[in-house]
C-alpha cells in the first residue's frame, strides 16, 4: 500500500520535471489563454495586473504605503512600452531571477493565505510574454533602499526555466523600490471597460491605501490618490476549516500528514477542531480514530465528512482574511466614484466548499459618477474583485455576475436595472479563491459563495431602497410645489375677485401654505383620503350641453 503511493508520487514528480525542463514555452503557448494572455487588450491588462499585484502584495507584507506609477507608451502599431515603478521593499539580488525568470516558482500556492497573486505564475509570465512577442529582455531596476541599486536585463531560459541575466549593473543610489521596463507586441491599448485604465481605477477603489499615477499612450495623466493612510495588516496563513471539506481532499491531507493517529491529524490539520469536536466525531464514526491517518479508506473518510456535517463548529477564524473594511470602501467609493448615495457592507466570514474561509464585501453607489458612461447615457456597472484585485474579463461565468443578476432589483426601487446610474462593488476575499481558470478572471459558481454575495447585495439593496424612496418623495414634493405655484397666481386673482379680498395677501399666504403643507406632507397625506374625482368618462357618456 505504502509502496503503491510512493510509486504514484514519484510518477507525478517525473511528469512535473519533464514539463519544467522541456516544454515551458509549449506550456505557455498552450496555456496563454488560461494565463490571461489572449486577445490584444486582455494581454496588456494582464501585464499591468501581474506587475501591480506583485507590487501591492510586496508593499503590504513590508508594511509600506504603496505608491505606483504606470506609464504606457506607444512605440508602433500594436507595440507598446510599459514602465511600472513602485516604492515597495525592493527585491534582494539573489531573488530577482526566481521572481522574474522562473515560472511556477511561487510559494503562495501552498500557503493557506489570502494574497492577490495566488498561483506563482505571476510576473515571470510578463517576462516570457515580452520575450516571445519582441525577442527582447525586460529591464528591472530594484533596490532595498540601502544605497545600492541593481539594474538588470533578463530573459527566461526556457529550457532550464531559470532567469538568463544579460546585464547586471550595480550602482549607488539612495532609493527604494522596483522599476520594470518592458516592451510588448501584438497588444492594444483602449480606454474600454476591460483596459488598463479601468483596471487601475478599480484597483484604486479596492485598495484605498494605494496611490496610483497613470500616464496613457496619449500622455494623459490620471492620479488615483489614496483615501486611507493605513497599510492593511498583512494576512496570516490559517488552517482549513472542517466544514465544506471534500472526501478526496481529506484523504490526500491524511496521507501527507505525519501524525500517528487520525485524532491528532484532525486536531493539527484543521482549525476549530477541539478535543471535544474530535470526541463528537468519534461518536459518529464506526472506526477508532486512533488508527493511522495514512491508512484511512475512502469510506472512512466519508464517515468523517458526514460526521462533520452533523456537528457544529465555531466559524472559521478570520485572521487569514483581510477585508478592505466598510469604512475604507466607503472612503474609496466617495473618493473615486463620487456618488449621490453609497452603502457598503462586509459580511461575516463563511466557508465555501473546500473548507476555505471567505468573506464578501459589497458596496452600492448610485448617481454622481456611478455607472458606466456610454455616449449619451449611463449603464449599470458591476465591479468584480477577488482579494481586492479587479476582475475585468470572463464576467459571464462568474459567481459575482450571477449573484448580482439573481437579485430582483425592482424590489429595491430600481426599475430599469441595466440602465441605472449604479455601480455595484463586490469583493470576494479568501485564502483560496475558487477561480474557474488559471486566468483568474472569473470565480466559480460555488453555492455558498453565490448565496453570500446575493445576501450581501440584498442587504445594501435594502439600504439603497430607503434612501431612494426618500429621494423620490423629495422629488415628488418639489414637483408638487411647482405645480401648485404655477396655478397660484391665476387662482389668487380669481379668488380675490370672487371674495372681494386683497389679491397679494391671498397669494402670499397661499405660497406659505404650499411650502408648509407640501414639505410636511409625508406618509400620512399619501395614505390619507384620496379625494373623490368625478370620472370624466362618466360625464362624457351622459352629458351633452
Amino acid at each position: 500500500m505504502i509502496n503503491m503511493v510512493a510509486v504514484n508520487e514519484i510518477h507525478a514528480d517525473d511528469l512535473f520535471k519533464e514539463f519544467k525542463e522541456s516544454s515551458i514555452t509549449e506550456f505557455f503557448r498552450k496555456n496563454r489563454a488560461h494565463l490571461g494572455y489572449s486577445g490584444k487588450l486582455r494581454s496588456l491588462t494582464t501585464v499591468i495586473h501581474e506587475i501591480v499585484t506583485n507590487s501591492l502584495d510586496a508593499c503590504e507584507e513590508a508594511g509600506i504605503l504603496p505608491e505606483i506609477y504606470v506609464r504606457i507608451e506607444a512605440l508602433g502599431k500594436e507595440h507598446y512600452k510599459i514602465k511600472c515603478v513602485d516604492n515597495g521593499p525592493g527585491i534582494p539580488l539573489k531573488h530577482i531571477s526566481s521572481v522574474f525568470g522562473k515560472m511556477l516558482a511561487g510559494t503562495k500556492f501552498h500557503r493557506n493565505v489570502q494574497l492577490r497573486g495566488q498561483q506563482g505564475i505571476g510576473v515571470a509570465g510578463v517576462t516570457l510574454f515580452s520575450q516571445t512577442t519582441t525577442g527582447k529582455p525586460i529591464t528591472v531596476k530594484t533596490s532595498t533602499g540601502k544605497g545600492k541599486v541593481n539594474e538588470l536585463d533578463l530573459m527566461i531560459d526556457i529550457t532550464k526555466n531559470t532567469a538568463d541575466i544579460l546585464r547586471n549593473e550595480e550602482y549607488s543610489e539612495y532609493w527604494r523600490g522596483t522599476e520594470i521596463d518592458a516592451e510588448f507586441k501584438g497588444v492594444r491599448f483602449t480606454l474600454s471597460e476591460r483596459g488598463p485604465f479601468e483596471y487601475l481605477r478599480r484597483t484604486a477603489i479596492a485598495n484605498p491605501h494605494v496611490k496610483i499615477t497613470f500616464i496613457d499612450p496619449e500622455g494623459r495623466k490620471t492620479v488615483f490618490d489614496r483615501s486611507n493612510q493605513k497599510v492593511p495588516t498583512p494576512p496570516i496563513p490559517v488552517k482549513a476549516h472542517p466544514k465544506g471539506l471534500e472526501v478526496d481532499e481529506l484523504i490526500n491531507m491524511a496521507k501527507a500528514n505525519k501524525a500517528r493517529k487520525v485524532s491528532s491529524f484532525l486536531g493539527v490539520a484543521f482549525s476549530r477542531m477541539s478535543n471535544a469536536r474530535i470526541k463528537e466525531i468519534q461518536e459518529h464514526v464506526s472506526f477508532d480514530l486512533n488508527k493511522n491517518p495514512r491508512k484511512l479508506t475512502w469510506a472512512e473518510c466519508e464517515e468523517i465528512i458526514n460526521a462533520i456535517d452533523k456537528i457544529k463548529f465555531l466559524a472559521p477564524p478570520s485572521e487569514g482574511l483581510m477585508p478592505i473594511g466598510e469604512k475604507q470602501i466607503r472612503e474609496a467609493v466617495l473618493n473615486i466614484v463620487d456618488p449621490e448615495f453609497e452603502a457598503t457592507l462586509t459580511r461575516p466570514t463563511k466557508v465555501h466548499s473546500g473548507g476555505v474561509p471567505f468573506q464578501i464585501e459589497v458596496a452600492i453607489a448610485f448617481g454622481g459618477n456611478a455607472g458606466r458612461n456610454i455616449g449619451e447615457g449611463t449603464k449599470f456597472e458591476l465591479m468584480r474583485f477577488a482579494n481586492k484585485a479587479p476582475l475585468l474579463f470572463d464576467a459571464g461565468g462568474c459567481a459575482i455576475t450571477r449573484s448580482a443578476s439573481s437579485v430582483d432589483w425592482k424590489r429595491y426601487g430600481i426599475r430599469d436595472f441595466e440602465n441605472a446610474p449604479m455601480t455595484l462593488f463586490v469583493n470576494v476575499i479568501s485564502t483560496h479563491i475558487p477561480y474557474t481558470s488559471a486566468g483568474k478572471q472569473s470565480i466559480s459558481e460555488d453555492q455558498n459563495l453565490l448565496k453570500e454575495i446575493r445576501f450581501a447585495l440584498m442587504e445594501v439593496g435594502r439600504k439603497f431602497q430607503i434612501y431612494y424612496s426618500r429621494l423620490r418623495k423629495a422629488e415628488e414634493r418639489e414637483l408638487k410645489k411647482q405645480i401648485l405655484r404655477k396655478y397660484s397666481a391665476a387662482f389668487a386673482a380669481a379668488l380675490a375677485e370672487l371674495a372681494n379680498r386683497d389679491e397679494e395677501k391671498i397669494k402670499k399666504e397661499l405660497y406659505v401654505i404650499i411650502e408648509e403643507k407640501i414639505s410636511g406632507m409625508d406618509a400620512e397625506e399619501e395614505n390619507g383620503e384620496e379625494l373623490d374625482a368625478i370620472p370624466q368618462e362618466e360625464i362624457m357618456k351622459t352629458e351633452s350641453e
Partner: protein, 359 residues
Amino acid sequence: MAREKIVSKLTNLGLNITDDIMLHEPPRMHLPQRNIRNITFNEKENLLELGSKMSTRSFLNVAHSRKFMQTILIASKCKELVAKDKTASIRELYYQLKHTIEGTKENTFDDQSESDPLIVDLETSLGVLREELHLKADDKGTLIGQITLEDSGDFIDCSKLGRSGLSVPSIVEHYKFHEVNADYILVIETGAMFDRLVEEKYHLKNNCIMVSTKGQATRGCRRLVHRLNQELNLPAIMFTDGDPWGYYIYSVMKAGSMALAHESRRLGTPQIQLVGMTMTDIDAYGLEKVTETLKEVDKKRINELLQYPWFQKKEWKEELALMAEKGVRIEQQALASKSLEFVAEEYLPEKIAKKQMLP
C-alpha cells in the same frame, strides 16, 4: 332666485376658501358626487336622483389644483356676469377665461370640455341653475308643429315655419304656450329623420309637435319636452335608432342623466315611450338586409346599460338581450329601404295606433 342672492352665494364660496387660506388650512370646496355611486333610481317616479355623497376638492391635491383654479375662474366670471346682468354662452365663457398662465406655456383652459363640467360642479355645489349664473348653452334641437309659442311678446306659430322649424334655445323658461292643436309630441333622435318627416308633413297629417334632439338632448330640449308634457298634458313619444346609444338618449329624456341628476325633476319626462326602432321591427317589417353588425363598443355598451337600475324593466332587458343575440343594430333611416314615405305613412302611424311601444 334674485340676482343679489346669486352674487352673495358666489361671494360666500370665495370667502370660505379665502378663510381657509388665511387660517393656513388647505383651500377646499365640497361638491355632491356626480357619479353612478351617488345616483339612485326612483322607480316609482321613474327618475334619477342625486344622493347625498359629497366629494372634497382640495387645491393642494395636485390632481385637483388645475380644476380648482378653473372652478374659481368660472365662479369669478359668473359673479361678474350676474352683477352686470349679462348672459354668456358657455362657449363665450370658455373664451373669456382662456389665457396663458403667466410664466408657462400652459393655458387656463385647453378645451371647452374642461370648463363645461365645472359649470355643473358650480351649479350643484351652490344649488343654483345654470341660467341663474347667467350662462346658456348653444342652441341645439328643432321644433315644428301645431302650437303657437309666445317668446318675449312675439307669437310664433310653429306650424308655419316652412321646412326649417324653430331652433330650440338653451333656456325655454320664458316660453308661453298658446293654441295647442296637437295630440302628442314626437321626439326624434336624428336631424335627417326629422327632415324626412317634415317633408312628408307628418306633423300636419298626424296632429303632433315634432322635436328633433340631434343626438343627445340638450337641457333646453329636455326642459321643453318636459313642459309640453306636464303643462299641456300631451303624451310624449320618442323615435331613435335601434342601438344602445339611441336607447340611452331615450333614457336620459325619460329619467334624466347621471351628470344632471340634480335636475331630473325639471328635465325628465317619465311618461315618454319609445316607438322605435326596436329589434322586433326587423322581423315585423322585413328589415333583415338593412341592419348593421354590432361593433365591440356597441356590445360593451349593451352590457353597461343592462347594469343601470333604470334599464331593469322586463321589456328593456328583453330588448337588449335580443339585440345582443341578433348581433345587429338598426338605424331609423333604414326604413327608407321600403320607400321614403314608408316611415311617415305606415311605420309610425301604425305602431302608434297599435301602441306598440316600449316603456
